[in-house]
Amino acid sequence: MQQVIRDKALSLLEAGKVDRVLAWKEGEFFYDQTPHVFKTAEEINRSLVYNGFSAANLSKYLVKETLKDGMIAVFLKPCDTYSFSQLLKEHRIPREKVWAVGIPCDGKLDIDRIRKAGLRGITSIREDGDRLSVSTIYGEKTVAKSDALAERCENCKSRKHIVYDELIGSEGEALDSGRFDAVEALEKMSPEERFAFWQKELSRCIRCNACRNACPACTCEKCVFDNPASGIESKAPASSFEEQNFHIIRAFHVVGRCTDCGECSRVCPQSIPLHLINRKFIKDINEFYGTYQAGENPDERAPLTNFDKDDMEPADAFRKGE
């Protein structure tokens, strides 16, 4: 697949169809790829990669990249196309400046899960069918690919590409995933247990803003948390409230816009399951106001800009959970 993508990138560049190509660049190891704007064939041949660790959602880079002149090609995995579509809907990206290439994805790998399996000093990883051969300083190991899959990919919501100019491989389908199971499990706990759970998780937050800055829905010109005029500017988890507040507001601001791409949890250096907060909102929306998938339909009204006269009251929402 990597070669197919390289060839596509090369042909787009050579044909003059695009001026730049946004893809993943190889790192020091197998797993540390960096999103990169390729400008030359030489660069593409040398360092454009696509494999199980090409995890970053590239769609958000387009907001910045399309401010520049010229066309840019981008490779989008199915879930990335939802983000892309949502950004188009919000007028954050001029469609005409992007050549979107849909590419297949059979789930991305999470290096932290491999490390957690007790592997240290990982220097390279080879994908052999459903197994991974891992070379470490301390010897060779193999791991089942399914044990290294990122959480978001274990619970993949869709293999369908929502928007693209061309597609590599065949089109997939929206999947029936168990992505709300973890939310449900939390809902079943007592409030005390839930509170304890989130205290434990959120108290680890170091407010590095990785979740926010990586989130394809968080593209505000200036975030309310950075804006002294907003009245809620804050920079540090100075109290447990600040931790809660930041994550509630962050998630609330992307209600109906969050496509559940999972970048927030992927990038969190403290492994906080932030996606659960977003998913709770998504689950509530689906249950209260009918199924809604952000990024899927550009003409659909988002749940918070819509209403029904017979919407449920907050008190009924609680009763529903019981």
């Binding site: 954050r92 010109e221 309310v224 005029a229 009245g231 988002a302």
Partner: protein
């Protein structure tokens, strides 16, 4: 830092009895920025207001906090006083220590504490107040009336009478509406046509009024004072200017089998027609669905007979763009569809008719020339059953309306009385739930029907009507006698509920005017502003707002006209000062705010900006029309970047109040 004055009102003993006003004033005097404090018996009195004015001047105050009654009482009073003393009227904040403190608490200690907290919140808010000026927008001195029934006619006439131009848009070929179809009016029994047609003529002759008949409103843009309306004039295939209304074409047209909608389909008309003799404008119209020429290209009889050369088969719809300062909705009503009421056999027998059809049958200009005849066989009915509340006052689970249609009791009494008067040999039964006659001379009228004319009023429900051997067998219950009845009627007349015209819903969307669940337009206030829509510049006349009889409709129409005149009389409109405003540098252009604005006050524009990184960028940003924005704040919360804020109730102001209260 503001220089704030705090003024604590005793309100006689209303506040002072439960709140230690001196303690409140002194406590608030210690708050940052407070340079003056005072308490007084009646702050709203002239003497009290003078105290405020003097303090503002003497202490160079930049703002005032008044701890008094509800801002709903005296906010304006104090704002005016502040303005008179030379500071912006929006630099006043009220702490409501009467309705929301002294009157609800008995314990003086806690009431005083609470009053101090409320005062602190007001001070905290005031610190963030900025002078506001309401914008102004010019007013186009012309009104649009949508609907040419009696409501529209009356409103138009009154507006024109005040010297303003008015356009009437009527979807039918003639104005006149439902009233033109009615025979007599209750409770005076004068002839509807006799009182309506002179008004129609007045409309036609008024220099201030233009009639766009056979036209519909297609799009509305703009806002109060400045509406841009697209009006579609449907093709009549007759040149309006050339047509003299002689009617020759309507006699010669070979296509005679066109259902006559003016007579509710009880008879037929030609494919080219003038709805009725007194139609305004009196211009022929070709019904394109039936015209042989338009359908096959072969015929052309009307064109041949028309001496004025007015027939134009090639005519197309035209769309006019017009500007208005105010829009009056007078879209009226229709009887509901009765297909769901098959127990009354409306669809099974032509002799089960609606009250409006009954009107046409008894009308001298109607299909029977005014003689009461059964539609099925043209015979004279000897036994007539009137059924009231068909589709009205239902429990909400059924297919009907929950509301009372209001006019049925009276017109049914009228029909019963007129029948008995003209045809004393006819027995008349009226089945009713209640007879509602609140209105001038209404009850007298109903009693005459019962007492003088011998109409059988039976409290009870009609269970079923079944056509049997040319008769209509009416099964009903008499609730007072407690027995079942079976009446072999010749004619059954159903008092169908009335509902807003179907065109009202799409129109409301265009106007961003709100409707209730029954599709009646909502008034700005049910008691105090009954003829205005909450959407500024939209006014309500007649049954589009709720069921009404003719006198009420005309009264409302005139009231509505008065409101329109009041608006058009102004050269400029003062806008709401507390409007939303975006911080363009923060705006992402995502369109979220636009979607929640109930007034269409937000648009997007692409503007060039000098960015902090010294580049120039064209960005899509929100723009609020202050003339339209009513200041609800829906957009401020919808905006994810916090770019949208509300003057007078800004994020930081409200948070400052929160902080002060929770301190």
């Amino acid at each position: 830092m503001q220089r704030i004055g705090v003024f604590v009102c005793w309100c006689g003993s209303n506040i002072a009895a439960t709140v230690d006003v001196k303690a409140v004033a002194e406590a608030l005097g210690k708050e940052p920025g407070v340079v003056f404090f005072e308490d007084y018996q009646y702050m709203c009195s002239e003497e009290g207001q003078n105290k405020i004015k003097n303090a503002i001047k003497d202490y160079a105050l930049t703002g005032a906090v008044i701890c008094s009654c509800s801002p709903r009482m005296h906010e304006n009073t104090f704002r005016k006083a502040a303005a008179a003393a030379g500071i912006n009227s929006f630099m006043v904040e009220i702490a409501n220590i009467r309705e929301q403190c002294s009157w609800i608490h008995k314990d003086k200690v806690s009431a005083t504490e609470k009053a101090i907290v409320l005062g602190r919140a007001a001070i905290a808010k005031l610190h963030l107040n900025a002078p506001l000026t309401a914008g102004e927008s010019p007013v186009v001195k012309r009104a649009l009336v949508i609907g040419g029934g009696i409501a529209g006619i009356q409103t138009a006439l009154d507006i024109a009478d005040a010297g303003f131009e008015v356009d009437i848009v009527e979807k039918k070929p003639t104005i006149g509406g439902k009233m033109s179809q009615i025979d007599k009016t209750f409770p005076t029994l004068d002839c509807a046509a006799c009182i309506l047609t002179p008004k129609m003529v007045d409309v036609a002759q008024s220099e201030k009024i233009r009639i766009f008949a056979y036209s519909e409103v297609e799009a509305v843009k703009g806002f109060v004072g400045n509406f841009n309306v697209s009006i579609r004039k449907k093709a009549r295939y007759v040149d309006e200017v050339k047509c003299t209304g002689c009617g020759l074409c309507t006699e010669k047209c070979p296509q005679k089998k066109v259902p006559n909608d003016f007579n509710l389909g009880l008879d037929q008309k030609r494919a080219i027609y003038i709805p009725f003799a007194q139609a305004v404008p009196k211009i022929a119209t070709i019904d394109a669905d039936y015209c042989t020429m338009l359908k096959t290209g072969k015929c052309g009889v009307c064109s041949k007979v028309c001496t004025a050369g007015a027939i134009d088969y090639k005519q197309k719809d035209t769309v006019l763009e017009e500007q208005y300062g105010a829009i009056v909705v007078a879209t009226g009503f229709n009887p509901i569809e009765l297909t769901k009421y098959d127990e009354f056999a409306y669809s099974q027998s032509p002799d089960v008719i609606t009250s409006l059809e009954f009107e046409r049958i008894t009308n001298a200009a109607g299909p029977t020339g005014g003689t009461l005849l059964r539609p099925s066989d043209g015979t004279h009915p000897h036994k007539i059953v009137f059924v009231q509340c068909v589709g009205s006052r239902e429990d909400g689970n059924g297919c009907g309306k929950t509301y009372c249609s209001k006019i049925c009791c009276m017109y049914t009494a009228k029909h019963a009385m007129l029948t008995r008067e003209k045809y004393p040999d006819t027995e008349v039964y009226v089945f009713y739930i209640d007879v509602r006659t609140p209105g001038k001379n209404f009850d007298e009228f109903y009693r005459r029907a019962v007492e003088e004319y011998g109409v059988h009023y039976i409290k009870g429900m009609v269970g079923k009507v079944s056509p049997e051997n040319g008769k209509l067998m009416v099964r009903a219950s008499d609730l007072i006698e407690g027995k079942q009845l079976l009446i072999d009627a010749d004619l059954v007349v159903l008092a169908a509920a009335i509902e807003p015209d179907k065109s009202a819903r799409p129109l409301a969307t265009m106007l961003t005017a709100s409707m209730d669940t029954n599709d009646f337009f909502t008034e700005a206030h049910p008691k105090l502003r009954p003829v205005e829509s909450p959407t500024a510049g939209i006014f309500l006349s007649g049954c589009c707002q709720g069921p009404k009889d003719i006198p009420e409709t005309v009264a409302q129409a005139s009231a509505c006209a008065a409101k329109v005149i009041g608006l058009l009389n102004k050269d400029k409109l003062t806008c709401n000062a507390c409007v939303a405003h975006p911080d363009e540098m923060l705006c992402n252009g995502c369109s979220t705010c636009e979607k929640v604005c109930p007034y269409g006050a937000i648009t997007y524009e692409s503007k060039e900006f000098r960015m902090p990184d010294r580049t120039t960028r064209i960005r899509r940003v929100a723009s609020v029309n202050p003339a339209v924005c009513q200041g609800c704040g829906a957009c401020t919360v919808a905006c994810p970047s916090g770019a949208m804020d509300l003057h007078g109730f800004s994020n930081r102001q409200i948070m400052a109040e929160v902080d002060a209260i929770c301190k």
